[in-house]
Symmetry: C2
Subunit: 210 residues, 2 copies
DNA sequence: CCTGCCGCTGACCATTTGGTCAAACAATCA
DNA sequence: TGATTGTTTGACCAAATGGTCAGCGGCAGG
């Protein structure tokens, strides 16, 4: 997802391989549960060679998280005042679900980081993330005041979209086993269900609209 | 949540203290990331003393998970055919949210286990869990066929309830920081929001009902 | 009060783990 | 080609980690 700054071809290739392998391992076991040996083996490199490219285990982890937040918030940033409010939010829902489908490891990495108390990204949560959500919450309140959206708590609306979409990445094992399915089929079904869910709840009631 | 079988008072007290401490640690760091020293310190016992009560780290972890699944599924089991379908599902939603409020550590332990590939509970997921969801999905389909519930995919309805309710336990740090609140206030707000969300989506439309 | 078991501990052990380093090896460029 | 820079590795290290064990103290029942 994020390409590291590199001077030579070999550097670009190997540090990318390291980050990719580290994403596999960290997203599954969390920072503490992952080992450099696991990452090195998955990357096809020796452990000392890993540490030639990154100074420490934590540096790899931080490098992964560094680029993640921006990418992760891009779908919400794209929520704009123009257009129909309900369709705007449904578009956000679709983009977020697509993120879960395309980048499940990143979603799990994020989940693991938060479960462990968000030691690395707490300031980003209180800073960028909170600011962005505050901003979009104000927009949603505006839409509600205009009668173009049913009156709902904008923060919990956003939380519920995060929860439902990331669930398909973070708990995909459970989803697949319960459904008895494999592959991306659940995502298409989820999109249909969630679209109905949010369209019902967000469409303003014409009988009570002013 | 689950009391271990014990013969003496001291056994009961200490193994309970161990399980309580282990729940703290495992739910935050996952199985691999947790250490016996952490658990021993939190339990106020020495590490050899831990291993006097449990034969291994894994045994503690398994003991925690063993009782969890039943408790975790109790709210869904309580979904019955009697009563109004919409209110039944809203009741399930409320019970599940209450579980997140009262037992956030258990929720995180479960989340961590699934993130790591559910090595210990995969068979329970494919067995008990799937069977229960299949059963309740059939009930929901019945309600839909009777026109007493809007037509929705029952599996993804359940998934979305899991996702939205467990989110407030698993991601509570994020929720609290974004809201700038502390304590249980988010749960009350979430209940209001989610009630509206699901009531809107599940109430059958009288215009299209047959 | 003494005997035997339960509870507990310090010392110890093997393995794993994050990390270092000197030296070997490969690529590049003047 | 030779000098320089970039890349890789085997050997090694200290700390952390899961686990063992002999023994000691205390409490309980006879």
């Amino acid at each position: 997802m994020s390409a590291p700054r590199a001077r030579t071809r070999i550097q670009a290739k190997n540090s990318q391989a390291i980050l990719d392998a580290a994403l596999d391992i960290f997203s599954q076991y969390g920072f503490r549960g992952a080992t450099l040996d696991q990452i090195a083996e998955r990357a096809g490199l020796s452990k000392p060679n890993l540490l030639y490219y990154f100074p420490s285990k934590e540096a790899i982890y931080v490098a992964l998280l560094a680029g993640l937040m921006d990418t992760w918030l891009a779908p919400l940033r794209a929520l704009h005042h123009d257009g129909d409010p309900v369709e705007e939010i449904l578009g956000y829902l679709r983009r977020k679900l697509e993120m879960s489908r395309l980048y499940p490891r990143e979603s799990r990495l994020f989940a693991n980081e938060i479960l462990q108390g968000a030691p690395q990204i707490l300031d980003q949560i209180e800073g960028d993330l909170k600011a962005l959500v505050d901003d979009k919450a104000a927009l949603i309140r505006l839409w509600i005041a205009e009668g173009r959206l049913a009156p709902v708590d904008p923060y919990h609306l956003v939380f519920s979209i995060w929860a439902t979409t990331q669930h398909y990445a973070d708990f995909d094992i459970q989803v697949h086993r319960v459904l008895g399915q494999e592959g991306d089929a659940p995502f298409a079904e989820a999109e249909r269900f969630l679209t109905h869910l949010y369209r019902s709840a967000l469409t303003p009631n014409p009988l009570t609209a002013r």
